[in-house]
Symmetry: C3
Subunit: 256 residues, 3 copies
């Protein structure tokens, strides 16, 4: 028996019934679906935040996991509701860029726009496609329905990529991809962007050194984080609060 995992990533929040209703819709279609929350309360309306968290996570999931991603400020407009089949996974969500970095990295095999009237709930409201379109699509996929039965082949329109840093010998212009619950600030800096980790850096007049763990940080530091990007951090404190920066901000890093 096929028992695919469905992993939800939404910005709906735990105060709301929205995630719960989506699970109800799924279980009504496939009582054997194995549903879990990947992120229940992503940053509201933020494509960048959700795209980053999905990308940082998907590769740790079992083969054929269905990622049901609903961060969808354009719900009800003509943005396409998509199912993307990749080498190892399925991604279900709006064509607004949120699925793209993960799907592209894994290798896109086919893309379908969800249009089947057998899939979409009757009385579709137009403000909650998570419930009316995406959840049923994920549920039918979890039962083994082929992607092409969900609608018609299409092309992805929003091919979102994370911004690249601008680097010279004296400075780095980086972008904040994500701020986590602890206030750790994920930058768009990968291993190869910093070739001398003994260097010192200055951010907003504050000295920053690279450390291997959060516990070694003295004041502000930079740690090579679990997602594969450098993170600004304080030991048991919030780097985000200290620097007053948030997801999407650009910051200047001086190399000294």
């Amino acid at each position: 028996m096929i028992k695919r995992v469905i992993a939800l990533l939404t910005d709906f929040g735990v105060e709301e019934h929205y995630n719960g209703v989506m699970k109800g819709v799924i279980l009504k279609i496939n009582r054997n679906a194995l549903i879990l929350d990947l992120v229940a309360s992503a940053k509201s309306f933020s494509i960048m935040d959700a795209a980053f968290q999905l990308w940082a996570s998907y590769k740790y999931f079992p083969y054929e996991t269905i990622f049901l991603v609903v961060v969808d400020p354009g719900v009800g407009t003509d943005r396409q509701p998509l199912v993307i089949k990749t080498k190892n996974y399925f991604f279900v969500g709006p064509d607004n860029g949120v699925l793209y970095p993960a799907a592209y990295e894994d290798g896109i095999e086919s893309v379908v726009k969800i249009t089947s009237e057998k899939i979409i709930l009757k009385n579709r409201n137009g403000t909650f496609d998570g419930r009316d379109v995406f959840a049923p699509a994920a549920a039918y996929l979890s039962k083994g329905m082929p992607t092409e039965a969900l609608g018609q082949y299409t092309e992805i329109k929003e091919k979102y990529v994370f911004p690249e840093p601008i680097i010279n010998n004296y400075s780095i212009k980086a972008t904040v991809l994500h701020v986590d619950k602890f206030g750790d600030v994920v930058l768009n800096l990968r291993k190869e962007h910093i070739n001398d980790t003994s260097k010192k850096f200055i951010i907003k007049d504050k000295n920053v050194q690279i450390k291997a763990t959060f516990a070694e940080c003295v004041g502000l530091c930079m740690v090579f984080g679990s997602s594969g990007f450098y993170e600004l951090a304080l030991n048991q404190g919030s780097a985000s609060d200290l620097l007053k920066i948030k997801t999407g901000d650009e910051i200047e890093i001086e190399i000294v």
Copy 2:
């Protein structure tokens, strides 16, 4: 094998072990229960908020789902712990109105007060009936125990209904049933309450137009929401913050 869904709706919050402990109690009684969170962190102590979210959600769940609802400021008093069997579902929770709108709509078939000493945990504390009374009741229901084995037949005392708006040709007096994580404000206005959707409205000196989707909102707008009520909304902003209104508030809407 019976494998009923148990959907939790509580105001306990994700910072706490309360929801988790209830799940532990359930699994100790029925390892095959399929437990999920409908709402993990409803507005503290708010009957209206929980009643609304339950009512907006229940119909999307599979037949025979057990809704385990613990928003229970009167825990330990003589308010009745109830199991309500309806046409399609079971509702477990306190007799404070929180279950009533959903149960009434689905069609109440029988009501039992949970009194059986075989069900209620020994050393019942009196401050956490979610753990000591409601979770075990839901667990035994999920194993197929008939409702009448949980206690004795009773009558519902708190027959809570959502307030009705007061409407004339020039104005509407509406009540806020729920404010969601995005700041969207659900009003007690159904489709039939607004017969001319091209009209303009004024709320607290702000112009409001009816739109089909959040993305079309310019400034403050009103959208026919996914629950079947109109919602005040901003495109990617918080209508609740803008208007400084919260669940339970009454607002005056001028029709122009």
Copy 3:
């Protein structure tokens, strides 16, 4: 077939993918694991808070539940990653005290430091042992792997115990073990610490009486809470906000 429950207690929060990724790692190893959140968003970095919540909860779970506890400010240092087998349960997490009160109470049978290269994920990052070390260890335990196969026997270093109150005829010096979402303040006072419950108390110039339920509180009161400790509470209000106290604070209680 062994289908052990894995209960997660972390301070990662529902805004993040960290808990979700751990679940992905577990399901990749054991698709039949029954995973649930015990606490998804414990107080950041607080050993006391997590130790309290684990201790208050574990006994309600089924035999052989695996508690996967990641409140781990020392991640990447030489603190030991542990599996503790007790009389009825398994506890997986860092050797920083967080597991100790629960494990000690249930009866510790063996302690293993997780070192097996077959268990730990390749490319262990050093900042997210929840994903790279603890989740795989829990997953293998859930498949029935014996604890000794996960590493080598060791001794627990951090034998954390909750602080004891200091009590005389006129006053009590108590410590706040936990503040819950409602603002209820759990003190380190058990039944035996207060032998005359008709006494009146004064905390920060405020009168406090002992009541049986939250609903009976008039102003500030003290209730014997569901965890087995006394709690300061307001009826439908936040005692924590009123008294301006938080987890870890010491408070003076005058007996009058």
